[in-house]
């Protein structure tokens, strides 16, 4: 029987933070997740899995067989294999760090790659690069796994047959001769955005050789609307850089600028730099967010307004009128006067709008209005005009000149050329257009039906695909060439701010792939390159100062070149951009209704545009907002769900009826499972993109163990493909009245889909877990975080009956997490997984509560309504707080006292450590852990495949469990990623956050080796940190020596906002949190509902 700890009585004001609607309603499922460490059945093999009885029978047989041979009595003879010749810089077993960069569509991210014995194992941000400050995000952290993806493309293919590279080279030579004769007519390239100067240079050479060739850049999630608006308003090649560190008031309209996955880490850092409140005297910025679904930006907002995405134009228009009223800006007059305000706009909360506008008007030149990439060009222009009227241009919004080639065409132009039969040879470099191109790119002239890229590509006689996987696009291409990973190839790139970065390979191509520039060079007929020659040539053309070789070495060593400076340009907004409005009609749409809702298509926090579909770490990463793993879902509001009569998991059929002006009426349909998401706008459905991409099948489950037999064919990943609904005419939201859309219908299918939803798993009991206050509340009571109502009487700690561990080491480790700058982006979770060899377990295992993440991010909603007074109406617009939850390293650790074999003990420097080889797997420790941070290896996740795919109807579901019967052994490439300094745990072992003990020990040993024959063995202050703290783009996590009063962590812990979890249990946690501060505008109508997750006093009604 489980003893339930009697927490001190909660004060009458009640608990205001909750994790799910299940908690709000106190459902039995929720009680089970709360009261048990592992849910019912976590420790059982149930349902379609093996029964425990079968398992014991099977194991009995194995044991008997094992006994016969006495196989393990002889010492196996192992060998030490040194190099034949010394390898430069290499010391066996020591890490080597190289600067490189990850190319991304919004600009590259400068990195430091950790390599050991010649293989890269971990990526960190490059701290030398001043703008990025050593920040990374989830995709950077996870990209190392893509390098070792065993289902990567490994061969050259022509018409389905494996060929040698020489055949492809011969084809290129032949092509050069034939196409060269026709000035390159019929030759086209379809590429990703990489901002590589060398690629641009080679493109220029190709254009000299083939003057009529076409070059199309396509990125499904790069907004053509935004680009068009920026170039029209600020000239070709312009790019706008928001300067958040200068902005006091920020209004984000459908803009998730805090989504680190977009790669703009500089902006995220700039924003959070204004939220580091150290004392009551400090100021912070204020963020208003208007959005239809909860985003990371919305989670950090001070004021959040739910608004359907299709109503953002109407909101912007209304805002512009308010700003115009306050500024009488002539530019704004011009653009507003010229626009047609037809249609009936939604009724917005008038006070919300006008007070937000007043707040912006009060800070001219220090405010910022941002609009999301999905809004039409006219709205983008209007927002520029608003910023111009607020005098923000040149202050908080600056324009920067980027290399620009006017001959680049967009995807619809390419599609029309293909449709007209003008393209004879098409090179598709990267991407997966068959999967993610917008639907209906062109129209068939006979039938007047829209044609998708999948049919268009078939019209091209010769398609050459350079791809990372043999995916759906490769299947329709005549040639498939394996693409090299960026960690395998030479390259260069520009950051989002325009800095010039070098990319150097960490390892030779594992499977003989080519990089883009190598392919272009081969097509140009250049000499075959194996080194950095192509990059060097580009670098030479930038005229580096001094000796070339020195400059080049410095460029590689630092990872960036300082002599190439980005060029800022005059930020003057030309308001008379009349031509733009014609392209995008400025008609305000009527609000979506329950009968005809809007469908919003957005990027996914895990899959991006689908390029990480085969990345097990990202698939298993719980979405920071919904906590959903392995799937996407149609997000809807609780009220709308009630109206439709659906619950989380129910399947919905979405139908978009199109009736374009010139063409046939058609239906676009998608069946997708629902997820009820509090805080979502009503009558609006959000579908994250990037799921259900067809990938080559290699294992039953990506990355989780190894059935080493390669299975042929292409299979579909989990989730639902939102690209089916994404058309060229309406790429971001589909709503009645949108271009060619008659109506949008949603019907209940009547079946359910199994989700692996993490939101109720690992729920913690107890109070004061998340603490927050408003800035005013903090100034009035700076100790609000220390005292939680009801806890005062427990200030005197009860004596512990156990002996306190002797914490006598000279340095004592601890951590603190600043909830005020934590955006919940989850980079720390993936960084932890990469550093600590944490396995992927698979969808079914996650649903059983067997996920292995050492660091999880708890997401809490906070709403005004006390949790136990639910009258059937779910809160409409809750706030959100993210709380990263690693092991708290209690000094009086409850786990240690119950371990029967002393496998978990306390170290002298304050860590709660695990000795894996002592653990016998009783799981008492995790039963006794109040934070539920201990993880148990129910199976040999790193050694055996966990699931076998089972298809139920049209849905892909991981179902069957075959682990004990499968072949043991992981593919070699997967072993190459493992961190050699961390034990790979096997079945039956408990594990948890170690505070990166391997890094602590490395630092200690380095200090000892340095000390030599002297007594100074202390590790220098703040000289190393944990993987999560290093990955955090906002420095929310700070680790260090808490005994040293000058260390960063001690200074953080000395702040007023510092608090420890469940302090009334006298567990004395080493980790602590800094409470969140929100900065509401007291004049706003919702001001009294802000910052209430831990109400200090009774909230005014």
């Amino acid at each position: 029987m489980k003893r339930v700890f009697h927490h001190p009585p909660e004060p009458a004001t009640g608990k205001r933070y909750w994790r799910s609607l299940g908690e709000l309603n106190d459902t039995p499922e929720f009680r089970q997740w709360l009261e048990r460490e592992f849910a019912e059945g976590t420790a059982e093999l149930n349902g379609s899995e093996w029964s425990r009885r079968d398992f014991v029978k099977l194991m009995g047989a194995s044991m008997a067989l094992a006994g016969v041979g006495l196989t393990s009595c002889r010492r196996p003879e192992l060998h030490l294999v040194p190099f034949t010749k010394n390898v430069e810089w290499t010391i066996p077993g020591k890490f080597l760090y190289y600067a490189t960069a990850m190319p991304r569509r919004n600009g590259a991210i400068p990195l430091l790659a950790t390599t050991v014995d010649g293989r890269p194992i971990k990526l960190e941000g490059n701290p030398l690069h001043p703008a990025s400050g050593g920040a990374t995000d989830t995709f950077v952290q996870a990209s190392i796994l893509d390098l070792y993806d065993p289902s990567r493309s490994q061969r050259f293919v022509h018409n389905g047959k494996t060929i040698q590279r020489a055949e492809f080279d011969a084809y290129l030579k032949n092509l050069r001769d034939t196409v060269g004769g026709q000035q390159g007519e019929g030759l086209a390239f379809l590429v990703d955005e990489t901002y590589s100067p060398t690629r641009e240079r080679l493109r220029g050479e190709l254009e000299k050789m083939f003057p009529s060739m076409r070059w199309c850049v396509y990125e499904p999630l790069l907004s053509e609307e935004k680009t068009l608006a920026t170039q029209t308003a600020f000239g070709p090649g312009a790019r706008l850089i928001p300067k958040f560190d200068r902005a006091d008031i920020i209004l984000a309209l459908d803009s998730d600028f805090l989504d680190c996955g977009q790669g703009d880490l500089e902006s995220v850092r700039g924003f959070t730099s204004r939220r580091r409140v150290k004392s009551p005297a400090d100021n912070m910025n204020r963020l208003y967010v208007v959005e239809n679904h909860f985003t990371l930006t919305g989670a950090l907002a001070d004021h959040r307004l739910r608004c359907p995405a299709s109503q953002i134009p109407a909101f912007t228009y209304a805002l512009a009128q308010k700003i115009l009223g306050g500024t009488n800006d002539p530019g704004l007059t011009g653009i507003l006067g010229a626009s047609q305000n037809s249609g009936s706009a939604a009724a917005f909360d008038e006070r919300w709008l006008s007070e937000a506008a007043n707040d912006l008007l009060a800070k001219p030149g220090a405010s910022l209005v941002l609009v999301g990439p999905g809004q039409p060009v006219a709205v983008q222009m209007l927002v520029y005009a608003i910023n111009a009227a607020l005098k923000n241009l040149g202050q908080t919004l600056i324009a920067r000149q980027f290399p620009h080639n006017p001959r680049t065409i967009d995807m619809s132009q390419l599609a029309s050329d293909v449709n007209n039969g003008r393209i004879k040879q098409l090179f598709i470099l990267g991407g997966d257009p068959v999967y993610n191109a917008k639907r209906g790119l062109a129209q068939d002239r006979q039938t007047n039906l829209p044609i998708d890229w999948v049919d268009l590509q078939k019209k091209v006689p010769e398609v050459v695909r350079l791809g990372y996987h043999e995916d759906a696009t490769s299947a329709l291409s005549q040639w498939h060439i394996p693409l090299a990973h960026y960690l395998e190839s030479w390259g260069d790139a520009l950051t989002g701010g325009g800095d010039y970065l070098s990319i150097q390979p960490m390892i030779l191509p594992l499977f003989g792939g080519l990089s883009e520039i190598e392919l272009l060079n081969a097509l140009l007929g250049g000499p075959k390159v194996e080194g950095p020659e192509l990059i060097q040539e580009t670098f030479r053309s930038t005229n580096p100062p001094g000796d070339f070789q020195t400059a080049w070495t410095r460029f590689l060593h630092d990872g960036f070149a300082t002599h190439v400076q980005p060029r800022d340009q005059a930020t003057t907004f030309s308001g008379n951009a009349g031509g733009v409005r014609d392209q995008n009609s400025w008609t305000l749409l009527s609000p979506p209704t329950a009968d005809s809702p809007e469908i919003v298509l957005t990027s996914s926090y895990s899959m991006d545009d689908g390029r990480y579909a085969n990345n097990g770490w990202l698939q298993e990463l719980p979405d920071p907002i919904t906590r959903l793993t392995w799937d996407n879902a149609a997000l809807i509001s609780p009220a709308y769900a009630k109206k439709l009569g659906v619950l989380t998991g129910d399947l919905l059929q979405i139908t978009i009826n199109e009736n374009p002006a010139a063409g046939q009426p058609i239906k676009r349909e998608l069946v997708i499972a629902t997820l009820v998401s509090p805080g979502h706008a009503d009558n609006s459905i959000t579908v994250p993109l990037g799921y259900a991409r067809k990938m080559p099948e290699f294992y039953g489950l990506p990355y989780a163990g190894g059935d080493l037999k390669r299975q042929p064919g292409i299979t579909q990943q989990s989730g639902f493909n939102g690209y089916f609904l994404r058309t060229a005419a309406n790429p971001y939201f589909a709503v009645k009245g949108g271009q060619g859309i008659d109506s949008v219908r949603v019907t209940k299918v009547g079946r359910t889909y199994p989700f692996s939803l993490m939101q109720e798993q690992f729920t913690i009991e107890g109070r004061g877990l998340v603490r927050e206050a408003t800035l005013e509340g903090y100034r009035a009571n700076k100790d609000f975080a220390k005292k939680i109502p009801g806890e005062e009487e427990l200030v005197e700690q009860p004596a512990s009956i156990y002996t306190h561990p002797p914490l006598k080491a000279p340095q004592q480790w601890g951590m603190t997490i600043d909830l005020n700058v934590c955006t919940g982006c989850s980079a720390c979770v993936i960084a932890c997984q990469a550093e600590n060899n944490v396995p992927v377990v698979g969808k079914l295992q996650v649903s059983h509560g067997r996920i292995m993440h050492w660091l999880r991010i708890d997401r809490y909603y906070a709403s005004r309504k006390p949790i136990d007074q639910d009258g059937g109406n779910w809160p409409e617009n809750p706030e959100m707080v993210h709380q990263p939850m690693p092991c708290q390293h209690c000094e009086n650790a409850p786990c240690e006292t119950v371990c029967p074999v002393n496998a978990t003990v306390h170290s002298e420097d304050g860590l709660n450590v695990m000795a894996y080889n002592r653990c016998v797997g009783t799981r008492y420790c995790s039963n006794n852990c109040p934070f539920k941070v201990r993880r148990f290896n129910f199976f040999d996740y790193t050694q055996r495949p966990v699931g076998k795919r089972k298809v139920v109807g049209a849905l892909n579901i991981y179902e069957e469990y075959f682990a004990p019967l499968t072949t043991k052994g992981a593919p070699d490439t997967m072993k190459m990623q493992k961190n050699p300094n961390v034990t790979v745990r096997m079945r039956g072992v408990m594990e948890k956050c170690t505070l990166c003990v391997q890094r602590i020990e490395e630092a200690k040993i380095a200090a000892l080796a340095r000390a030599g024959a002297s007594a100074n063995t202390l590790i220098p202050r703040d000289s190393f940190t944990t993987a999560c703290a290093q990955a955090c783009p906002n420095d929310a996590i700070v680790f260090g020596d808490i005994k040293d009063p000058e260390s960063r962590v001690s200074k953080m812990k000395a702040q007023d906002r510092n608090y420890r979890l469940l302090d009334y249990l006298n567990i004395q946690t080493r980790n602590s949190y800094l409470a969140r501060i929100r900065n509401p505008n007291p004049k706003m109508p919702d001001a009294k509902d802000i910052g209430i997750a831990s109400a200090v006093e009774k909230i005014p009604e």
Partner: protein, 241 residues
């Protein structure tokens, strides 16, 4: 009715019990002795591809350990020399010796020599050479008198208890930093006056050590332990991560 069992059979249960106790005790004692690394591992002397004589190289020719094990002061692993290191000399010395054929083949083909691994710690143990040799622990303490071995064998048990013997009492093994790679060093070699002048003496030493004729290992070790602030970890995380 005749007795089927003679009277002496009354003693059988007692005898059986005694035999059982003796057998069980013997088995326990045997396992205690023969089942530990001290018996099972020590003396392991596999045949190497090249019978490298440490005694010739170190004792006769006077080579330093670090000529071949070059990264021992920097890295966790003490590296085995690569073929290039061997060929530095053996392109000129003993260049036709048939025993060196594997090395020459390796040099020609580029395939490494596969040495048989003797001192293998299990994967969950993270031993670090740099932390030891830089802090006054000699090669000798773990590897024995390698400088007198014609072929290397495993000299010490390398069990966890054996590790802890030193981690709990490092004073029994510490030596001056310049003697770490001198495998023939004895505590008697230390000149007390010089030693005390350089390192001082333990705070609880009852006498002036510099006046002594000879110093014991404990006296030397204790001095160095205090002088260098030696504090070896005895908790799990020191070796298991």
């Amino acid at each position: 009715m005749a007795n089927f069992f003679p009277r002496s059979s009354n003693w059988i249960p007692i005898k059986l019990l005694i035999c059982g106790i003796v057998a069980a005790g013997g088995l326990t004692a045997a396992t205690w002795y023969y089942g530990t690394p001290k018996y099972t591992k020590v003396g392991y002397e596999p045949i190497q591809p090249v019978p490298f004589p440490h005694d010739i190289h170190v004792t006769q020719l006077g080579m330093d350990c670090r000529y071949c094990h070059s990264f021992v002061e920097m890295a966790a692993q003490s590296n085995v020399p690569n073929t290039q290191t061997c060929m530095n000399c053996h392109t000129q010395v003993q260049k036709d010796n048939p025993k060196l054929e594997p090395v020459r083949t390796s040099w020609k083909t580029g395939n490494p020599v596969e040495w048989v691994w003797i001192y293998r710690t299990v994967d969950y143990v993270y031993y670090n050479h740099a932390a030891h040799v830089n802090r006054g622990i000699s090669c000798f303490s773990c590897h024995g008198q390698v400088n007198h071995m014609s072929t290397v064998y495993l000299a010490k048990p390398h069990s966890m208890a054996w590790c802890l013997d030193c981690h709990r009492h490092p004073e029994n093994f510490l030596r001056p930093e310049d003697q770490v790679f001198n495998l023939d060093w004895k505590p008697d070699d230390v000149k007390p006056a010089e030693f005390v002048a350089m390192y001082g003496q333990p705070h609880d030493a009852g006498e002036d050590l510099s006046k002594k004729k000879k110093l014991t290992q404990e006296e030397i070790g204790q001095t160095l332990k205090e002088h260098w602030n030696i504090n070896p970890p005895t908790n799990c995380q020191g070796c298991h991560r």
